[in-house]
């Protein structure tokens, strides 16, 4: 459950950051989106590393920025 929420937060926040970079360049979005994405990424990495019964490959998948969490979720399901 937590992995799922953090994975989507990781993916969506990066998408918002990139869209902002490409289109509107709002400073507030960059300043807030950056830390939000950072938190979500770190939480995904920690949860993946501590999740029991995962292969090393799956744990490494979690390290991929942006999509790592969702890739791990796909392996888990």
């Amino acid at each position: 459950m937590t992995v799922r929420t953090a994975s989507w937060a990781e993916f969506v926040s990066l998408a918002v950051l990139l869209l902002n970079l490409a289109i509107v360049h709002l400073d507030a979005v960059t300043s807030l989106g950056g830390p939000v994405h950072g938190c979500a990424y770190l939480i995904v990495v920690i949860l993946t590393l501590r999740h029991p019964g995962l292969s090393t490959g799956t744990r490494m998948l979690g390290l991929i920025p942006g999509a790592g969490g969702l890739l791990v979720l796909r392996r888990l399901s």
Binding site: A28, S31, P35, G38, C39, I43
Partner: protein, 143 residues
């Protein structure tokens, strides 16, 4: 402070809020754990460990929002901040590599030594960081 951007104020608020909400419970629960472990009260022990584990994860937000605040204030190179980062890393490593595994061992019924002492060091480290954040020695932006 002369005209701090609103986003910086928001980031700083989130950083302080995360510190209070996340590190507070970890400090209290981790400090209670060794004493409760001596009484071998299992249901309490499980709850205290769960508080430590869950709020440590929430605590990830503290350094992340802290770095964002520091970067938007332009103080990332300041000595007091670098010292705080080093101490925070030390505290995080102690929590993740000694305290949480030690609690897991205690929960599994194995004997654990020095958990109380290590927890004390963790609390001291982050109390030092809090003081550094307030006093900011050498800072020219005012306290």
């Amino acid at each position: 402070m002369p005209s701090v951007p609103r986003v910086t104020k928001l980031l700083l608020s989130l950083h302080v809020l995360a510190a209070i909400v996340a590190i507070g419970p970890v400090t209290v629960a981790a400090s209670m754990f060794p004493a409760v472990a001596r009484r071998s009260d299992r249901s309490w022990l499980t709850l205290l460990h769960r508080i430590c584990r869950v709020y440590s994860l929430v605590g990830v937000a503290v350094p992340v929002f802290g770095l964002a605040t520091a970067s938007s204030l332009g103080v990332l190179g300041d000595t007091w901040l670098i010292t705080s980062i080093v101490l925070t890393v030390a505290a995080a490593l102690i929590l993740a590599l000694v305290i949480l595994p030690g609690q897991e061992k205690a929960l599994a019924g194995q004997p654990v030594t020095r958990l109380g002492m290590v927890t004390g060091i963790f609390n001291l480290l982050w109390a030092t960081v809090t003081v550094l954040m307030i006093v900011r020695p050498g800072s020219t932006t005012g306290a």
